[in-house]
Amino acid sequence: MKWGVLQFPGSCDERDALNACLIAEASLGGGGSDSGSRLVWHEETDLSGLDGIVVPGGFSYGDYLRAGAIARFSPAMTAVAEFAADGGPVLGICNGFQVLCESGLLPGALLTNERTRFICRQGDLIVGDANSPFLSELEPGQKISIPFKHQSGRFFAPPELLEEIESNNQVAFRYAPGHNPNGSLNDIAGVTNRAGNVLGLMPHPEHAVEEFAGSTDGLGLFRGPALAGAEA
């Protein structure tokens, strides 16, 4: 699989995300440095040849105004919207999740943490019952350990929308009991779009792909689309 990882002015985790993509590819017997996976500059509009997109974490445009508010207007995001509409897998991590919500590709919004502080910690997530290529290697109810780090990660949706997200099985991850760091509604840590091909989450699976990091539970998300493709 060839991944494109978006890079905005102010992105932070884009190299980490690309690294995770390459590790996942290698674990599936593909990849290598000539795999074709690459960073995508925010002004690029041509995503042809890419099989999956990551909108990475960081502080695009300094997160000024609202996290993700400015980045959503980049030319690359217009291309990502088309890519997603065609069913391509798009993963938004942290700031990337915020960008996808701001641009309407995912439902809901992310508010300042209840305790207003930035928080960085390893935490447990429970896999939701969403149907998404990113979850193909994970079982609903499975517990995984993934770090999170953010200041605006409190998932919010008005009651009707929340009800819709729940009843359509769009919840991809919930914080395990006692692990909700920010006051997210229904402990929601990640959601998908209706079709399931777009998934956003606040925790950082790309920081849980190598042994030395203490957990490799994040690898599954990056392996998911290729495995789902193989099944299809």
């Binding site: 919004a109 943490n113 209840e114 305790r115 409190r154």
Partner: protein
């Protein structure tokens, strides 16, 4: 040119973490009798016309899912 001021506030009913933090800090600093603290943003700008300000708010300055906005303009 016009001078515009956009006030952006968290929607009623949404927990305003910053407002709550301010309220929480008041007693220790010796302030009593203050309540309903809400913290929002103010964006001030000069524009050639007021025509597209609404659109600017909807698209960029505010997120209608979580925020209300109000535009005040002064012609110059």
């Amino acid at each position: 040119m016009i001078q515009a001021r956009v006030l952006i506030r968290p929607k009623e009913g949404i927990l305003d973490a910053q407002g709550k933090a301010v309220e929480g800090a008041l007693p220790a600093l010796g302030f009593d009798g203050i309540e309903h603290v809400r913290v929002g943003r103010i964006v001030e700008l000069r524009a050639e016309s007021a025509d597209r300000l609404e659109e600017l708010c909807e698209k960029l300055l505010a997120n209608p899912l979580i925020e209300d906005y109000e535009i005040e303009t002064i012609a110059e």
